[in-house]
Amino acid sequence: MPQLGETVTEGKITVWFKSVGDAVQPGENLFEIETDKTSMEVPATTAGTLAEIRVRQGEVAPVSAVVAVIADGGISISVARPSVRLEGFREVRTPDRRYGPAKLSNGVTVSPLARRMAVEAGVDLTRLKGSGPHGRIHAHDVKAAMTAAPAPVTMSAPAAIQAPGSDAVRSLYKEVPFEEIPLDAMRRTIARRLMEAKQTIPHFYVSTDVALDRLLALREGANLALAAKLSINDFAIKAFALALKSVPSANAVWAGDSILRFKHADIGVAVAIEGGLLTPVIRKAESKSLAAISAEMKDLATRARERRLQPQEYQGGAASISNLGMHGVREFAAIINPPQSSILAIGAAQRCPTEGSNGAIHFVTQMTVTLSCDHRVVDGVLGAQVLAAFKGAMEEPAPLFA
């Protein structure tokens, strides 16, 4: 069926001039076709015998379909696919979409530049108040958030009490000698994040005392066998991880319009460094051996002090541990690191008198631990359960060696 006209897709054979078996010469009309636009005769282009008629009189066939076969004639051509080589010039250069949605989960819109700045500076847009129309966040809002403490974000209407401005503070102390320390990025970040934590996370605190004698005895034995020594902190990390695994609802974080409940217990461990602190994260702590946790902690602590941690090494996790015991602190309540939902504060191990089962007084080595919880995620009972699980794991520590 030949191509008749640019838009024609099929044709009807109206008349066959030849029959099967007839001899055919080039130029002799074979059949007449009719399209939606016109009709015409189609001649043979080769000599031979009409061997087969595939589309009969009155039938329709698409353009290029084989309608008949002429024996000792017929041409078949195979056309190779062309190889594709592309030019160097690109006329469209759309970049990747990398900077998050225009509308946040809390309904606030953000300009494209502000989104980019927020990602590059690690600013959490959901904590910002925008100065644009309808609360839209613009570039200078992000810029302001990157410097000294911004205006606090409140969920409810009443305005928070403002802290005194920098000049007011300086003038308050102008009569006394002082050294003015400029703020570095870490100090700014600590100030901003912990301020945010205290103002936006509903903290509550549960405390208990943990008897360490069993653990200390087992640790002494283990440290004889191991090259690297295990610390009480290493035990605490694993015990806390197992405690969170046993109370899955507490191994979770508040995500604004939902709660994210994690499969693994990634535990952040506070490490004091010069000028501040960092909290590197031990991933899947529940499944790591004490020796592995110990080695990893040593490495992370070293690199933290040298400021050589990668961002992914100090981000994540639902909970952290902070230990001030080596400084003689008996008990303290730590501030949760957003967006986590709890932090376990560990105090110093001390000899304390306690009543024994036979009514006599004897001494035990114990430490006071306090779990700070985000009440949006971890209710009172859950916090208590985590704490109890932790205490149990530390006081009967044999399973920690698994």
């Binding site: 191509q3 006209g5 001649p43 056309v79 080589r85 006329e91």
Partner: protein, 339 residues
């Protein structure tokens, strides 16, 4: 004052060698164009094609009278004009078939056949557009003091479009070395030319409006065409300015692929294909002048062979590669419109 179609009289001002050459050229044009049609029926030629079967004498006559440096411009019905200037058959067929060996590597197609090396300065698909362009080429020759002539072919329908009139006027007032050739094949696309033209002779009838001589010749007689062409070229080359020549001819096929030309009166096609066929006319004349049948048969065999060879070359050729999409938009060879 119109010249009436002349019968070919004694042909001793045209040498035997030239006669045989013009016969060969006409035969090539016919066979190659016929082959193009066959390939179309096999769906190897895609898109659209405008055949000049029946108009061979015009192309062959004008081309044979040209010098190698002369320039031609023609319309989308340009296969014959392209071949007549010596462009190889496989390049023309290859272009029609959209292959990489095509004259334009498949980028222009049937309607834009061009070979600057042969002086074929393009085939033009917008009716009449090339008439002022041909004037420009002639202006360059005049400006540079060059002796080449520009020959511009177009159909009867073209004489009604604006660019025809602007171009003719400019060529006359600047006395440009350009020869305008109207191939009056009696039909403007699907319509008889008489229905849409204010004068009986579409081109010759307009000549006086531009101060030009009115010339009508028998376009099916290659000797007549040749002589007319020579006279016009001589005039242009010697600074005598442009000519407008109307050739009476006929096309056997429809306007284009899509057109089976059912609008023709009964018997018209057969008449022209019979008594007025340029190749038959010339063949008879050559035989009558003493040329041997075997000479003509040999010419025809060679042409058949060359058409077959060209066909096979094209069938074996690949389509153009995709990177050709982006080449030659600009003079640097690329298409970059931005940095």
């Amino acid at each position: 004052m119109a010249s009436r179609p002349t019968k070919a009289a004694v042909i001793d001002d045209i040498s035997t060698e030239l006669r045989l050459r013009m016969y060969r050229v006409q035969f090539e044009l016919r066979e190659c164009e016929q082959r193009a049609y066959d390939l179309f029926l096999q769906n190897l030629v895609k898109g659209t094609s405008h055949l000049s079967l029946g108009q061979e004498a015009v192309a062959a006559g004008f081309a044979s009278a040209m010098e190698p440096g002369d320039l031609t411009f023609c319309t989308y019905r340009g296969h014959a004009h392209t071949l007549a200037r010596g462009v190889p058959m496989d390049k023309v067929l290859g272009e029609l078939m959209g292959r990489d060996n095509g004259l334009l590597r498949g980028k222009g197609g049937s309607m834009h056949l061009t070979s600057v090396d042969h002086g074929v300065m393009g085939s033009y698909a917008i009716v009449g557009a090339h008439i002022p362009i041909a004037c420009g080429a002639a202006w360059r020759a005049q400006y540079k003091g060059a002796k080449d002539v520009t020959v511009c072919f177009f159909g009867d329908g073209t004489t009604n479009i604006g660019a025809f009139h602007e171009g003719l006027n400019l060529a006359v007032i600047w006395k440009l070395p350009v020869v305008f050739v109207c191939e009056n094949n009696l039909y403007m696309e699907y319509t008889p030319i008489g229905d849409v033209t204010a004068v009986a002779d579409p081109a010759a009838g307009r000549a006086s409006a531009y101060g030009l001589e009115s010339i009508v010749v028998d376009g099916q007689d290659v000797d007549v065409v040749y002589r007319t062409a020579r006279a016009a070229y001589d005039k242009a080359r010697s600074g005598g300015g442009p000519s407008l020549i109307e050739c009476r001819t006929y096309r056997y096929s429809g306007h284009s692929r899509a057109d089976p030309a059912k609008y023709r009166p009964e018997g018209e096609l057969d008449f022209w294909r019979g008594k007025r066929d340029p190749i038959r006319i010339y063949r008879e004349r050559l035989l009558a002048s003493g040329i041997d049948e075997s000479t003509l048969a040999e010419i025809e065999d060679v042409v058949h062979r060359r058409v077959d060879e060209a066909t096979e070359i094209c069938k074996a050729a690949l389509p153009p590669s995709a990177d050709l999409l982006y080449t030659d938009v600009y003079a640097d060879g690329g298409w970059a419109w931005r940095n």
